[in-house]
């Protein structure tokens, strides 16, 4: 099958029921989406499908043939970070950083739908995401900063 990831169309060799996460990581060598639980409980694997946040760990790749997938890598690079990534760097909103890619992608989806979100909207949007280092206050600040950018 063909899969559109970050604006590039790839031929995918994985089996159709393979969760998108493994296709992104192992076949396309993209590191942004992380395996955290494989159950859709922690949000570390979040990517965008046509701009909507989805859990790549529980979404079979075959269901996404017609969709435009955007991963963390599609938002910018370390040298040229996207607006949300830049806000996370400026707020130093990471400790181990493992959950952060999912948070950034979720924030991207939020800000596309609500460019000026309320505090409650930000917290509700991030509710599916877990952070264990306790970086929550900075993550919230980073999303607020990105909204203002």
């Amino acid at each position: 099958m063909k899969l559109d990831v970050n604006g590039q169309v790839h031929d995918i060799a994985s089996e159709p029921d393979t969760p998108l996460l493994y296709v992104l990581r192992d076949e396309l060598h993209l590191n942004g989406a992380k395996y955290g639980c494989g159950l859709g409980q922690c949000g570390a694997c979040t990517v965008l499908a046509d701009g909507e946040a989805i859990f790549s760990c529980v979404t079979p790749v075959s269901a996404l043939g017609g969709r435009r997938i955007t991963t963390l890598e599609g938002l910018g690079t370390a040298a040229r970070p996207g607006a949300v990534q830049r806000a996370f760097i400026e707020e130093q909103a990471a400790q181990c950083g493992f959950c952060i890619p999912g948070m950034i992608v979720r924030a991207e989806a939020l800000l596309r739908a609500h460019p000026d979100p309320t505090e409650a909207q930000i917290r509700t949007a991030l509710q599916p995401h877990l952070c264990r280092c306790g970086t929550h206050m900075r993550i919230l600040k980073a999303v607020r900063r990105a909204a203002k950018a």
Binding site: N31, K34, Y35, Q95, C96, R123, G134
Partner: protein, 737 residues
């Protein structure tokens, strides 16, 4: 990690690796006896080039035996080195824990990295700069006093300039460190005590190769382990032929009770693992204790008692006595990224990439597991998700090594599943603390009697029997006998000795060797419960004395730095004696000096409790911290903020669930932690500046004070004391039941 490996070789290839030859390298751990009077980890690696290397092109590499765990240690150590070398921060690179490239600094644990490695690097950098300046003086035929350094150059009195690289080419840095160094005056700091942005964050937010999970070696295979259903289960039967014949499955490894599947693709491995799990027949025999009566179970286990503090004085007549008991359940580290490791056995040499906290002890365990000489095993630290102590990282490394030994020639990547991480990681142990105190009529504590019951807090590798693979393999290894960790840092008794100036105090550590559940080091070890207990009880006594809790603490505390953080936290919080929060809100305060020898931390907080549902939330927290000389104030704030939120989650929600046979909390639905809906409105961290003072470890300083401050605030809100962690809704409901 092809690029990373190449990077590493490029960085280290030209350098002489000399620390291994040093006489002190025999020592396993820093912090031992200080025969040469060398500070920090210079004790275990006294040659300067173990820490600082400069090649002819002027590239400077800092080497540390400590690992980046998300605490920002790379950045902080680079700051220290840049400052003392007087070079721009951006010019330095760092190599972290690798048995073939860095000093043996034991474990990256116990908030000791700045004290151990930071101190070593600071001294080494200062002494390297002195050597470079001396070399410049020699070349210029001038006195060394006239030479100074800046921007990576030595500069002479007559305007001479020489680049470090040029000077270093004629110089050996393989020189024994001296006990004392000529440091940069803290007033001249340009890099230290500045919020330098972390070097690792841009790559992490952009999806670069940043974690062991991201390694993709040529020919790498994916493995999954089929764990037994519970502790001690024995594999009775497994017909793996159907799975092994599936396309893409390379091998089913069966080694005693250790079962794993190796496949070309990751999803194939996952599905094969599930199929094997369904087919495997296990015999379970372990009986776990009754979770509901854990405190009683803990007190009922046989203990070895040690008096760790004994200062007796006559208790004046007429003193009122008070007593209470405090408990914590088993709790998990709960890394967001389950453990992962890559191992490659090639031509009799094994290389393992692991997010272990101790590459050398892990190497020891893996070598023993596979019966290989340690010199044939190399363990390289590659970052994982935050670990917060000894989690499953080492186990995954052991798994990968054992599987690689069955599938030599190809790199093996093992990724643990979420349910495996939750059920099999070594937990923070359940504990009980009992305290009795006597208080005189003036509200002064005149006697203090404290006991803490706990397992050890370290079952780390070193011994192969401390790895799950070691326990499950056909050639099985028994876990090493548990040992209490010695004072003054302590294990279960960490922070059990009160810092307050009580005229009479007696503290006993009841060390419990038997471990019904698998346990090891969880951030702050016993300090979490001991501070929770001491600081809760101080609050109870303050209330009994009719005193303000902050004033009551100051009344009993002589330590000036402790008093400073208490006063700073109270004032920034707006703490007012006698003022009570309204509408179900409560305020609480707590304080501790971590390990009684590291950072000071005081926390004031406000909670909101809904009486009907019992739901408690941390609304606001204000912390004050004294870490000695601060290297990166923003990094320090990040650590303390994190400690507050993590400890809030531990304190309000968390307990491992288990029944007689198995651990039953196996994901985030069965073991819930803090989510954004309950995150506080504000968290502030205020730093006491201590220029030039020794570094004090801070990574764990907030755990205990946060737990106690929340409990005190909850008691303030509901008018009732809850002494058992977690402070769950069911325990706080007003009238139900």
């Amino acid at each position: 990690m092809r690029p990373a490996r190449r990077d590493f070789l490029r960085r280290s290839g030209a350098l002489v690796v000399s620390f291994a030859l040093s006489p002190a390298a025999r020592a396993q751990q820093p912090g031992g006896h200080d025969a040469d009077g060398l500070p920090g980890s210079l004790r275990v690696a006294p040659f300067l080039d173990s820490w600082i290397r400069i090649d002819a092109g002027g590239a400077i590499t800092v080497c540390t035996g400590k690992a980046e765990l998300g605490q920002g240690i790379k950045t902080a150590l680079l700051q220290v080195a840049a400052e003392e070398l007087r070079v721009p921060f951006e010019r330095l690179t760092i190599v972290t824990a690798d048995t073939q490239a860095t000093a043996n600094e034991g474990f990256t644990a116990g908030s000791t990295s700045m004290q151990d490695s930071g101190t070593a690097i600071r001294n080494a950098a200062a002494q390297v700069r002195e050597l470079l300046e001396a070399e410049a003086a020699r070349r210029w035929n001038t006195g060394v006093e006239g030479v100074h350094s800046d921007g990576g150059f030595a500069m002479g009195p007559g305007g001479q300039r020489a680049a470090y690289g040029e000077l270093a080419s004629g110089l050996s840095l393989h020189v024994q460190a001296k006990p004392a160094s000529r440091f940069v005056d803290p007033r001249d700091y340009r890099v230290v005590n500045r919020p330098i942005p972390r070097v690792d964050i841009p790559g992490k937010v952009a999806g670069d190769v940043a974690y062991v999970h991201d390694l993709r070696l040529p020919g790498m295979l994916h493995a999954r382990v089929v764990r037994p259903p519970g502790y001690g289960a024995k594999l009775v039967a497994l017909d793996a032929r159907a799975v092994e014949s599936q396309p893409g499955v390379v091998k089913v490894v069966r080694d005693g009770d250790f079962v794993a599947v190796v496949a070309e693709r990751e999803w194939t491995a996952v599905k094969a693992m599930r199929a094997l799990a369904e087919m495997a027949k296990w015999q379970e025999s372990t009986r776990l204790p009754d979770a509901a009566s854990m405190p009683r179970v803990v007190l009922g286990l046989k203990s070895e008692d040690t008096v760790i503090h004994d200062k007796r004085a006559t208790v004046p007549a007429g003193a009122r006595t008070f007593e209470a008991a405090y408990t914590r359940p088993y709790q998990i580290h709960g890394s967001i990224g389950p453990a992962c490791a890559v191992a490659h056995l090639e031509e009799g040499k094994l290389t393992v990439w692991s997010h272990t906290q101790g590459v050398y002890p892990d190497r020891q365990a893996i070598a023993e597991l596979l019966g290989m000489p340690p010199a044939k095993v190399r363990v390289i630290h590659a970052e994982g998700a935050g670990c917060y102590g000894h989690n499953a990282a080492d186990d995954a490394a052991g798994d990968a090594a054992l599987i690689a030994s069955h599938v030599p020639g190809r790199p093996i990547r093992v990724q643990w599943m979420r349910e495996q991480e939750h059920a099999w990681e070594p937990f923070g142990p359940a504990m009980v603390a009992k305290v009795r105190a006597a208080m005189d009529a003036s509200g002064r504590i005149v006697d203090w009697d404290y006991g803490v019951w706990s397992n050890t807090h370290s079952m780390r590798p070193g011994p192969a029997g401390n790895l799950l693979a070691g326990q499950h393999a056909a050639k099985a290894f028994k876990p090493a006998p548990p040992r209490p960790l010695p004072q003054p840092a302590g294990g279960g008794d960490r922070n059990a000795i009160p810092l307050y100036a009580f005229p009479s105090a007696h503290v006993v550590h009841h060390f419990i060797p038997e471990m019904p559940l698998r346990i090891s080091a969880l951030r702050a070890l016993g300090a979490y419960l001991n501070v929770f207990a001491i600081e809760s009880f101080m609050d109870e006594l303050a209330i009994a004395a009719g005193a303000d809790p902050v004033e009551f603490r100051l009344r009993h505390l002589e330590d000036a730095r402790g008093r400073d953080v208490i006063q700073l936290a109270a004032s920034r919080f707006g703490w007012k004696p006698g003022v009570r929060a309204e509408g179900g809100r409560g305020r609480g305060f707590a304080f501790a000096r971590y390990k009684n020898l590291a950072a000071y931390c005081a926390i004031a907080c406000e909670v909101d409790v809904d009486a009907e549902s019992g739901r408690a939330r941390l609304v606001r927290a204000v912390a004050a911290v004294d870490s000695g000389q601060v290297v990166n104030p923003d990094g320090l704030r990040n650590q303390i903020e994190g400690a507050i939120l993590q400890s809030a989650s531990w304190t309000l929600y968390e307990a491992v669930s288990f029944d007689a046979a198995r651990v039953r909390s196996i994901d985030w639905a069965t073991y819930p932690i803090l989510r954004f809906g309950a995150v506080p409105e504000t968290v502030e961290v205020h730093i006491v500046d201590r220029p030039g003072m020794p570094f004090l470890g801070s990574g764990e300083a907030g755990q205990g004070p946060t737990g106690a401050a929340i409990a005190n605030a909850v008691a303030d809100a509901v008018g009732r004391r809850v002494r058992d962690i977690p402070l769950k809704a069911a325990r706080l409901r007003s009238t139900r039941g």
